[in-house]
Amino acid sequence: MSPLTPSTDLRPYFDELERFADGQMSLAEQEAFELRLEAEEPLADAYAAYEQLTADLRWAAGHDTLRLRLQALDERMNERGQALAKTKLLEKVRQRRWMILGSLGVFLLLGAVVAAWYFSRPNTAVIAHDWEDYYQPDPGPTVTPNLLRKRPFLSKTLKEYQAGHYSTALHSLDRVPVRVGSDTVRYVHGLILLRQNQGDAAQVYLRLVGARDSTTELAHRARYHLGMAHWQAKETREALVQLRIVAADSLSPYRALARHIVASGALKE
């Protein structure tokens, strides 16, 4: 369907129709044109066609304007949606990055804590090894026939101790009468416990040796073993204190050994 009837050609009337429709005519021209519209049928048809054209044009312009506005709005909303999505994504990436960094930090912290614990823990293997390396066992008093006769249980204990049967020796020691020279019994008791790796318990007996008289030979000897008992119990500070005393003790048979231990740095405060 054509916008205008085939017989209607606006071109001959275009200028007049446009001036009339756009209000460009003077009042006299306008009245004259209106009279012609009533009288001239071709002009009236052209006017109707012109009105239809401009009405359609008004619609087309409105339709196109709305189409363009909707498209522009759609693009704006898409861009805004994309920007929002991008912001959310960036936020998520940032959160994930922080989470990873946080986890890494916690992991590193844990690693550092574990490493610190590992490197700062007492090296029991080395200490035990060092203790045995530097320990000079004391076989204790010699079992003479006289001692055997006078102190049979002590003699039995000493024999078992010297033979390396420490549990049996401890058992035998329990049978030794208390009246027997207590420093000797305590000393032997400490030595046996020391050899049984009971450094804590050995300290109790060795510390009591020489409690009454610290000038006896046993008292000098006991101090060395007391130091070694501390070392065995991983009390390096106390061990070093005792061994320094021994190293300075001219009457101790272990003086040279104690000096060597102190100088070697095997024991650290």
């Binding site: 369907m1 054509s2 916008p3 205008l4 606006l10 071109r11 275009f14 200028d15 446009e18 756009d22 460009q24 054209l53 401009t54 359609d56 044009l57 008004r58 619609w59 087309a60 312009a61 409105g62 339709h63 196109d64 304007t65 709305l66 189409r67 506005r69 909707l70 498209q71 709005l73 759609d74 909303m77």
Partner: protein, 162 residues
Amino acid sequence: MSAPLAETLTQLRVGNQKFLIDFYQSSRLLFARWAQRQYQLAAPQAHRLLQDTLLDFYDQVADGRLTLLPADLRAHVYGMARQRLAAHVPAHQPLPAAEASRRQRLLAQFNQLGTDCQQVLTYFYFRAYNFEKMGGKMGFPNATVARRQKGICLRKLYELLK
């Protein structure tokens, strides 16, 4: 129908399209969800469908086919969208309607005009700007130049239609 709604339709008829723009802005997301759920349409297709449906609605109002604003506008627009899908109307094509062919032909030729001519004709016939205001908007030296330019563009369009 409430008075504001009747006013809305009148405004739309005289060229105030804000109502439809606002409707699109507030309904696009929900409409796309509905179209996705009901017809498995992707979001961009759903957006185009809503735009075409609102253009149909505008046409109905502009040519007088719709004289009362529907009580439930949302249901009316969704129903129109259903009709478009059922009739398999291609995107950016109007629903078949009286006078649509003649007007669509004019619209097609209108889009063949240069951007300046489209703008001039839109300002004068749709926005109802006078020559002075139109001249100012278009950067013409005076109203006479604007009037002449409008005449030239209208003749160009007429020649395209002949």
